[in-house]
Symmetry: C2
Subunit: 454 residues, 2 copies
């Protein structure tokens, strides 16, 4: 192979300092997920093709990676479909499996498949890669990691409340302040859609509203007008809610929508949430009637989290309540609520805002300088003891020049070097050098284990 | 969908207690990998197809999962190849990417691609899934997790020594005693092959020897005889080494092979390792001249770890030294050594031997019983405080019957329940029940944070 090998387009390697940073974020999430009573599960990278297709809309279907059948099975290629230009059908004839597109549909499948092994309400978290054959761009990759927490088998509003508290706790632990969690309710949106002239067909209304982030309010109004919605109603709602506290907004909406609409409970639910939030440390929670969240399966509360304004990566997490996620697999009446954090985008945000703790560069505590195999060999019991005490020790494997060895320690940002040459060995001592400050201490070998260094 | 959905054949879901067990194993490995100075990296699940194919032999090539190209690209299907029954070539025309088959070839690619961002010697660990289109059977899956540690850019024997110590430390932490690490050297094997009549073509000799585990010694001898090797030499070696200490075995081999062979250093190297091992806590290290390790790229020391004899899962880890792993990608003279642990098999072994700590059933510390939304809401500041102090709290989301709520806690093996009904709230106290022993304590609410419970 003459050309330099590289990763497939849109897929990335992670260097040590990047993995350490990503693990830091996942560790914070894992800690909080568990404090909120979620249990970990994992599902395979691949699912049966027919389980995934048809669940994410046409656009989603096109982005699902299909896995080629092995061996003789490729003989089943539907050449007729190829000839007719039905490329998707041709692909399907060659593929029984597909790569996981998100963690929600696999979770629904998991719940149905293992319903007799699970106890409900069931709260699970899952942090795994997903794959989408999407055009790569800033903050968008073909392989990325989602961190999901879902609670299924209960329609209690306490779950919504706990989700908001958990979001705040996660961003607090990440030192990321200034995030905004926008919250809305599908039933409120439906009531508004009805008032604006939509019949039972509200999906179109949601789809247009969902473009707000990308195209702006004027364009959304134009699209709603084109779709023959009553734009005056929408304008009057927008005006009536302007510059009001959340409680007043909810009251105003109640007045506007009237008590005959079925949204009554949902406004009350939102009111319950806002009045019970208490003090949040790092997240602002706002009611936003324009939040739509495109996905069909949401039926209740919906929410979306944006990074601080100075970083333009869009949503870093989102979720909502669904009443019938497992219905498509034949298991009815399982209300649930889920949230999904985008690890890769949170990583981008923390990087751009320089919020990673400085110690996250390396996972090594000390480099042992190697003067000779003989000296290292006699030092080995001490090295083993340091490791047993939890120190992470890089032993330079050969007796290279001191400058080269310390150069590596510097490149890897290892904070300490342990130096023991012939003269130190004779004196039964060693030198511990702080590579950040240059300070050196001479320590008797017998005192090495008791020496306190950070 | 009328049938119950399930995972693809050979691929598995992991329930919470299984993930917790797997995470326990990976956490032990991560801790020891880091104590031995390895840094974490990650590579994508997919690689360019041509990077993987041709690296694992014909058998390996057939087991590589190929990913179907998206959209228009499937029009490039090589129908000629399909017609001629060249199924692999047909598959290749539809696929640019393939699923990672192991973590070694991706690591070689990683080193070459990032050579200017890395400092050598470079020690990396990597714990990720790999995929093989293999026939599923006991302990063999189509998706499984490898935990690899490689050190590249040094041929120092200290690395071999550290690997053995690290293997011992890992199994020690897992409470798994009775593992055997068998070690050999490719150059010793080559010398034996030469003596037995092989020319420069030693691969065939290794391949036959590699079947020893599966077919037994008599069958291997027959195969060697069929291949016209000098079976008397092999018999005499076998006899000369029987019932000897490792040092004597190495001496005897030196005598048998004579000093003219190039294996001299390798016997000396093995001698160095055995004389410097010191006291190992849970692993037996033995010299085994019959260990061959099929993979072509090994050039120096090779080793394989077997589980205790009462569990029949075969190898749970293996590795060796390679002198030119990155050569195939145009980067010469990078000696390295690697080890790969099979997470799934280690999990099987620990399960069969019942060696997982009992606390690994759940990650939840306490279930808060829900008597009413109102009571839970006033309790929330206390719940938040418990969580801030690190307790993992499952709040039952609705006011179901007490029996049902405690039933869930029992099913999830949650050790404690926090109970606060109307009367307790009036008395500003709560009841903490140990669900394992049935013991109950009444605690004043203000004392809840200070209460010590395990």
């Amino acid at each position: 192979m003459s050309t330099k090998p590289n990763t497939p387009k849109g897929m990335r390697d992670f260097l040590p300092h990047e993995v350490i940073r990503r693990n830091h974020i996942m560790s914070v999430m894992k800690t909080q997920f568990e404090r909120y009573g979620f249990l970990p599960i994992e599902t395979p990278a691949m699912e049966r093709r027919e389980l995934l297709l048809g669940k994410y809309g046409d656009e989603g279907d096109r982005l699902v990676f299909k896995v080629l059948n092995s061996g003789e099975k490729v003989k089943k290629a539907d050449l007729e479909a190829l000839k007719n230009g039905e490329l998707s059908r041709f692909g399907n004839s060659l593929s029984d499996k597909a790569m996981r597109y998100d963690l929600t549909v696999p979770f629904a499948r998991f719940v149905v498949q293992h319903q007799n092994e699970l106890s409900f309400p069931f709260k699970r978290y899952q942090m795994q890669s997903v794959w989408r054959a999407d055009r790569p761009q800033h903050g968008r990759f073909q392989e990325f990691t989602q961190c999901d927490a879902d609670a299924i088998g209960s329609d209690s509003l306490l779950l919504e409340l706990e989700y908001i508290l958990m979001v705040d706790a996660i961003f607090g632990d990440l030192q990321l302040s200034g995030c905004t969690l926008r919250i809305n309710h599908r039933k409120v949106l439906e009531a508004i859609a009805h008032r604006a002239g939509a019949g039972t067909e509200t999906t179109r209304f949601f789809t247009i509203l969902d473009k707000l982030d990308k195209v702006g309010w004027e364009e959304v109004k134009r699209l709603l007008l084109d779709a023959e919605y009553d734009i005056d109603i929408i304008d009057s709602i927008q005006r009536a809610l302007a510059d009001k506290s959340t409680a007043d907004q909810l009251d105003a909406l109640k007045q506007l929508l009237g008590s005959s609409d079925s949204d009554d409970d949902s406004l009350q639910d939102l009111g319950f949430l806002f009045s019970n939030l208490g003090h949040l440390s790092s997240t602002t929670v706002v009611f936003d009637w324009t939040l739509a969240r495109g996905l069909d399966y949401y039926t209740g509360s919906i929410f979306e989290i944006s990074a601080p304004e100075q970083v333009s990566v869009g949503s870093i997490g989102a979720g909502g309540r669904y009443d019938d996620l497992t219905g498509v697999f034949g298991m009815k009446d399982m209300s649930g609520i889920g949230i999904s954090f985008g690890l890769d985008r949170i990583e981008l945000v923390l990087s751009e805002l320089d919020l990673f703790p400085p110690a996250l560069h390396t996972s090594i505590d000390v480099m042992v300088v190697n003067f000779s195999t003989e000296l290292i060999t006699v030092l080995f019991p001490y090295i083993s003891e340091l490791r047993k005490q939890g120190k992470r020790v890089f032993v330079y494997p050969s007796a290279a020049k001191l400058k080269k060895q310390l150069g590596l320690a510097n490149q890897l940002q290892i904070p300490h070097a342990l130096i023991m040459g012939e003269s130190e060995w004779k004196a039964q001592s060693c030198t511990l050098k702080d590579l950040r400050t240059g300070e050196q201490s001479t320590i008797p070998l017998y005192g090495l284990m008791q020496y306190s260094w950070d």
